[in-house]
Amino acid sequence: MNGWDWIHWLIFVVVILGFALSMIIVFIWTERKVIGRFQLRRGPNRVGPMGVLQAFADFIKVLTKEDIVPAKADRWVHLLAPIVAFVPALLVLAVVPFRDGSILADLNIGILYVVAIGALGVVGIFMAGWGSNNKYSLISAMRTAAQVVSYEVPVVLSIVGVILITGSLSMVTIVHEQQVPFILLQPLGFLIFFLGTTAEINRSPFDLLEAESEIVAGFHIEYSGMKFALFYLGEYAHAVAASAVITTLFLSGWKGPVLPPVLWFLIKVGFVFWLFLWMRSTLPRLRVDQLMGFAWKFLLPLALFNVFLTGAEVLLWEEKMASWGNFPWPFLFLNLALAGGLIVLWSKFFRLGGGRVEV
């Protein structure tokens, strides 16, 4: 490792930290403003012009709060939990290309790294749930365990479709290979990945672990002050990371006409985040058994089918490449049609409501 490498790493660590933190602040403001609009409110408008300083005001408020550790809590576990929950979100950004060549580390296992690191955050939630010595937070941790383990399966399977087409795990190569955004070639994969990620970063309608109306605040019920702030920031950091990964995998990353690549990247990230907000502000929450059923009965079969379909298409494409002008146009339309048809048909298998257990 020579001197230039070190400088590259140093610069990018600073860039990513700056990016993540500024995006978190922007996202907090955006979320409040956009959800305010969805709800016929104005959103924050007192602190600074259009309320842009709201996030800072929140932050100062949170910092001045008393730091509480419950009497019977597992002190160290309670203390470390916010850190363990927050760090993985930043780590994911290490392999996200902001534009061609602008990346901390172009790992050749990029996407696998994302999935692996993404699984770490749950440990922090566990620690918070257990360490707080609170029944609500314990229920929340249990829900998280079930949810993350279940949703990881369809998420990983939906990535396989992308990997099959590109033949590489590297995030940069994946972006390079996207002649059109993969959302068109892999509509089913995109939907499964998007919904699965929503569940993994615990945003509505899959936000069962902090279900306000059921288990109050879930795993962070006993947290206050800076530790709570870290969870709060972590939630947005995960949202930033998830939006960036979805942008890279399915929305052709930095690519786009006219505008500079970095701007395109930011626009797409913002769009994905806006989708999260849209879901959050319009949908009620699923029940825990419906949540699991959705993962195993709906997303998983469709993800398996998607892998099978994409595999067959990749094999076929290799033969016909020349005659289709280097792009599989027929598959584009076939996949879009199949995705629509399958989703409609498969949803017919679900019986709505009910779910009583004899006790």
Binding site: N108, I109, V123, F126
Partner: protein, 168 residues
């Protein structure tokens, strides 16, 4: 091997041994499980030093993301977790067996001559692993498939065992 990776190796080695000891010694089962996570994670670090990046990612994904989570899940379901791990009268026999195993491993490690390859490690390991695993002639496609069928059978078996019977 540069000094950087040597330093990293020793740090990781201490971390692995320390956390592994903590897993065994700690009375608080939940903390023990957390140290297990740390141990798995450090092992992934060792893989990275060995340029086995694919393996490292899989290590984190499977061991931390799935196995450790399941262990923690099981601990949370147990009410006795608060009481800590109880000791029983097998302590001394287990100690002897453990020491014996350690002796064997140390003997083997000391006895083996460790040849270092001249070739630099292959850069993307993923493709090579895949070819070794699924090659038409020398691959392990059949064992792989058998293993998957076995796992599937185990999964179905688990579901059948815990499934609630509808009473007629």
């Amino acid at each position: 091997m540069g000094t950087g990776s040597e330093l990293a190796f020793w740090l990781l080695a201490v971390l692995i041994v320390g956390s592994a000891l903590a897993v065994v010694v700690l009375r608080d089962v939940f903390r023990a499980a957390l140290f297990l996570v740390l141990c798995f994670f450090a092992v992934a670090g060792i893989y990275i030093i060995l340029s086995a990046d694919f393996l490292a990612a899989v290590q984190v994904l499977i061991y931390v993301g799935a196995i450790a989570v399941l262990i923690i899940f099981a601990i949370m379901l147990t009410r006795e977790a608060q009481r800590g791990s109880p000791s029983n009268r097998l302590q001394i026999p287990v100690l002897i067996v453990g020491l014996l195993l350690l002796a064997v491993i140390v003997a083997v490690v000391v006895d083996t001559s460790w040849p270092a390859a001249d070739v630099p490690p292959p850069a993307p390991t993923t493709g090579d692993i895949a070819e070794k695993l699924f090659d038409k002639n020398e691959g392990f496609v059949l064992p792989f498939e058998i293993a998957s069928v076995l796992l599937l059978a185990a999964m179905i078996g688990a579901i059948v065992l815990v499934r609630e019977r509808k009473e007629e």
